[in-house]
């Protein structure tokens, strides 16, 4: 019976044995991961729709003629840089380096705002050239429709992310949150960046 007793002790203390988190994370972090999985599928739905429409039409405008890829490239670069500043803020929060958290969170906000202004400029330009949800001068209505709906949905995520970052910075300044909350904000922000990499590749490059 002795080894049974040990087994049982181990079962009660084991990661999956109940009474604790199997991944050693708090529930808010796990919930954010799950939300991101779910959100991934929303974007996957939109991008799959884009793919089906584009393949079934068989022709698609030449993007280099329509978009300024230097601008979009710069926006992408800025967004990736903001992921780096976010990572610095998270690690500073974890180390307890309070002075560096707020500045790097604000730098991340700045990156997000620059990205959004780039997108606003791009949308304005695109619309002035005659792009609408229901049609455009390049002949394939779905081209502008998928562009607006996909980048718009992503832009909405970036806007929410900027607000989320500001709230996190404010709450950190008031000392009302733990480092893990900064990390959770970071998870969301990195996700938004990662999704952009897919959108950039699928909508502009391929």
């Amino acid at each position: 019976m002795a080894h049974d007793a040990v087994d049982q002790e181990q079962a009660l203390a084991s990661d999956w044995g109940g009474g604790g988190s199997p991944f050693a994370v708090g529930w808010p972090k796990l919930m954010m991961w799950l939300f991101l999985v779910s959100d991934t599928l929303t974007f996957a739905g939109l991008l799959a729709g884009y793919g089906v429409v584009r393949i079934s039409l068989g022709r698609w405008p030449d993007r280099t003629q329509v978009f300024n890829l230097y601008l979009v490239g710069a926006m992408t670069f800025i967004l990736i840089c903001s992921s780096a500043t976010m990572a610095v803020a998270v690690s500073a929060a974890k180390r307890g380096d309070h002075r560096r958290v707020i500045p790097y969170l604000l730098l991340t906000v700045l990156g997000g705002l620059l990205f959004l202004s780039g997108q606003a400029y791009e949308w304005t330009h695109f619309i002035r050239e005659g792009a609408r949800l229901f049609g455009n001068p390049w002949g394939i209505p779905q081209f502008s429709a998928t562009f607006f709906i996909t980048t718009g949905f992503h832009g909405g995520h970036v806007t929410v992310g900027v607000l989320y970052l500001l709230v996190t910075a404010l709450r950190w300044a008031r000392r009302s949150i733990q480092p893990e909350s900064v990390e959770i904000t970071g998870l969301y922000w990195h996700f938004v960046d990662l999704v952009w990499v897919f959108i950039f590749t699928l909508l502009y490059l391929i």
Partner: protein, 614 residues
């Protein structure tokens, strides 16, 4: 134990509104979901009666019904064709999304998950409250579509474009369809909040000793269902957004070129209606497992408890739940075999579809093996559980026919399909719902339901279901299409009038039988005899606390789990049940759970006071 005492005090401090209306207690939220779903079931049931009125006596005069739905009937009491289509659409949408999903996941999921795993509440009670409070607005938006110009949508619960995408395609394609889509979008957000909570709670908040391998099957089913919902509904959300853009902002994701509606060429061009079908069924097929997995869990629980036997093949049951959930994402194409698909793809979908029969058969055989030589207590809950197995087999077998593209090509969109899914999904899920209600009613409300009325309800419902839906197989084989306003307008279907009348009479009987349930439910709620803690002598944790459980569920100390949930009729044991909280030293553990390392004969250390979380 400051935490637990805090919880008790908090309950006293909360006013009526915070305790019973905007409650964050998972039990109240579960009951709110259940009550609202039962109300919606009554609405959906009345709509089903209207369908059967029309199909049984096409063009008949129904003065009384006109009083109930003034807009839906002509002045001489004949049901209007577009109203018929609206009724069919709303019956399906309500029953699938607003009754079965919400009652089985929202109702039982909320009530049972924290109780069966020994938690005090969900991980994020506030989000849980939001999840419920998005549901009534979704209902209001959905039902308001009956009262707008053009009425409720005509496009069926699947909302196929172009009928759903062009605002002038049918009377219900106007504002009614928009309201339908908005309502669904609200409900998807509600489901998202719910499933985030369920998954996190099951992973994080299991009490000491409650390993995944000791979780009751009902909790496994809810956990897996939540994963399905988390992964499938967002895709529908994307599709709903695109369809709303098509309808109101002029895009054409789903509208092909060259359509002529009302004598005018549609300006949309280049869209792909099949895209909607792919996106919809990527949700739609997991959705039918969202409806059937929770009843499977409920039935597994009831068969073990009321049969006084361990569930047969616990590991196989868990594995088959997971296998069904995984495969459910790979079969959506079998809904589209006649939509225009490469036959090779259709064959691939046939293979995955028939593969689902394997885990389903494992579950069925395990249920039957659990009943084999069991000491069956024929309570209403047990009767409904056995009825579930019967309905699931009947509907599952026709599912194997329909999985084959060659057969499906003939049966597609006939009443054979209607019969199939009403058995395997609708009625079976309904039986799971009734069985679960009879079983957990004492825990939910602290009172017992009347057994005699429950048995009467079962027999009338069971016979009513077979009498209503079984003849539909023959109607389908004879070629009667579904969704048609009046099949008897066609010569080749005229001979089916008698059978259709029989089905309608049976359906009315089935509907009336539910009044027994409503009476029993309401009467027991106020007048039923008080329930003890554990009236069925069950092992799972929810039966080890008071009926109904107090705020915080467990008093001062969280339960500790020492064994799997199915130690029934253990040889040499004093009672024929050994609750999960009984240490192994007191009575040896008889059954086998997933992790054999967990089975042991030694004493656990007593519960540590500070080890619980809030």
């Amino acid at each position: 134990m400051a935490v637990a005492h805090g919880a008790v005090h908090e309950e006293h401090r909360l006013g009526f509104i915070r305790r019973y209306i905007f409650s964050q207690d998972h039990k109240i939220i579960g009951i709110q979901y259940m009550m609202t779903s039962l109300f919606m079931a009554a609405v959906g049931g009345v709509l089903a009666m209207l369908i059967r009125m029309e199909l049984g006596w096409p063009g008949g005069h129904w003065g009384v019904a006109r009083w109930l739905f003034p807009g839906g009937f002509s002045s001489d009491g004949v049901l209007k064709p577009d109203f018929y289509l609206a009724v069919v659409t709303m019956h399906g949408s309500i029953m699938i999304f607003f009754v079965l999903t919400t009652a089985l996941s929202g109702g039982f999921g909320n009530f049972l998950i924290p109780l069966t795993i020994g938690a005090r509440d969900m991980a994020f009670p506030f989000l849980n409250m939001l999840s419920y409070w998005l549901y009534p607005p979704a209902i209001v938006v959905l039902l308001s579509s009956f009262f707008v110009a053009g009425g409720a949508p005509n496009s069926g619960w699947t909302a196929y474009p172009p009928l759903s995408a062009l605002r002038n395609a049918a009377p219900g394609s106007g504002l009614g369809q928009t309201l339908w889509l908005v309502s669904l979008a609200i409900l998807i957000v509600s489901f998202l909040f719910g499933s985030l909570n369920y998954i996190t709670t099951v992973l994080q908040l299991r009490t000491r000793g409650m390993s995944m391998g000791r979780m009751p099957l009902v909790t496994w089913a809810q956990f897996t269902t939540a994963i399905l919902m988390l992964l499938s509904f967002p895709v529908l959300f994307a599709a709903v957004v695109m369809l709303l853009f098509d309808r109101h902002l002029g895009t054409s994701f789903f509208v092909p070129s060259g359509l002529v509606v009302g004598g005018q060429l549609v300006t949309h061009q280049g869209g792909n209606p099949l895209l909607w079908q792919h996106l919809f069924w990527f949700l739609g097929h997991p959705e039918v497992y969202v409806l059937i997995l929770p009843p499977m869990g409920i039935v597994s629980e009831i068969l073990a408890v009321h049969g006084r036997k361990p569930i047969f093949g616990y590991k196989a049951m868990v594995a088959s739940i997971c296998a069904i959930a995984f495969l459910s994402f790979l079969v959506w194409g079998h809904h589209m075999i006649v939509s225009g698909m490469n036959p090779l793809v259709g064959t691939a979908f046939m293979v995955t579809t028939l593969a689902i029969a394997i885990p389903s058969a494992i579950k069925t055989f395990n249920w039957v093996a659990t009943l084999w030589r069991a000491r069956i207590h024929f309570t209403p809950a047990m009767l409904f559980a056995i009825g579930f197995v019967s309905l699931f087999i009947t509907g599952g077998l026709t599912g194997i026919f329909l999985g084959s593209p060659a057969v499906d090509t003939y049966f597609h969109d006939t009443f054979f399909i209607v019969a199939h899914f009403h058995f395997v999904m609708a009625s079976a899920a309904l039986f799971g719902l009734f069985g679960g209600l009879y079983h957990w009613f004492p825990k939910m409300f602290g009172r017992m339901m009347d057994e005699r009325l429950g048995k009467m309800h079962f027999w009338l419902t069971f016979v009513g279901i077979y009498a209503t839906f079984f003849p539909m197989h023959f109607l389908g084989m004879a070629g009667e299409p579904r969704r048609y306003y009046s099949p008897q307008m066609y010569d080749f279907l005229r001979g089916l009038a008698g059978l259709n009348m029989f089905v309608s009479v049976a359906a009315f009987g089935l509907g009336l039988a539910q009044l027994i349930f409503i009476y029993n439910f309401l009467r027991s709620l106020f007048r039923g005899p008080k329930a003890e803690r554990n009236p069925w002598h069950a092992n799972t944790l929810e039966w080890q606390t008071e009926s109904p459980p107090p705020h915080g569920n467990w008093g001062a100390i969280l339960p500790t789990v020492h064994r799997w949930p199915y130690d029934y009729s253990v040889p040499d044991a004093m009672d024929d049940f050994i609750p999960q909280t009984v240490p192994a030293a007191a009575v040896p553990v008889a059954g086998g759970a997933l992790d054999d390392g967990l089975q042991g004969g030694a004493v656990d250390e007593p519960p540590v006071a500070g080890s619980e979380r809030t």
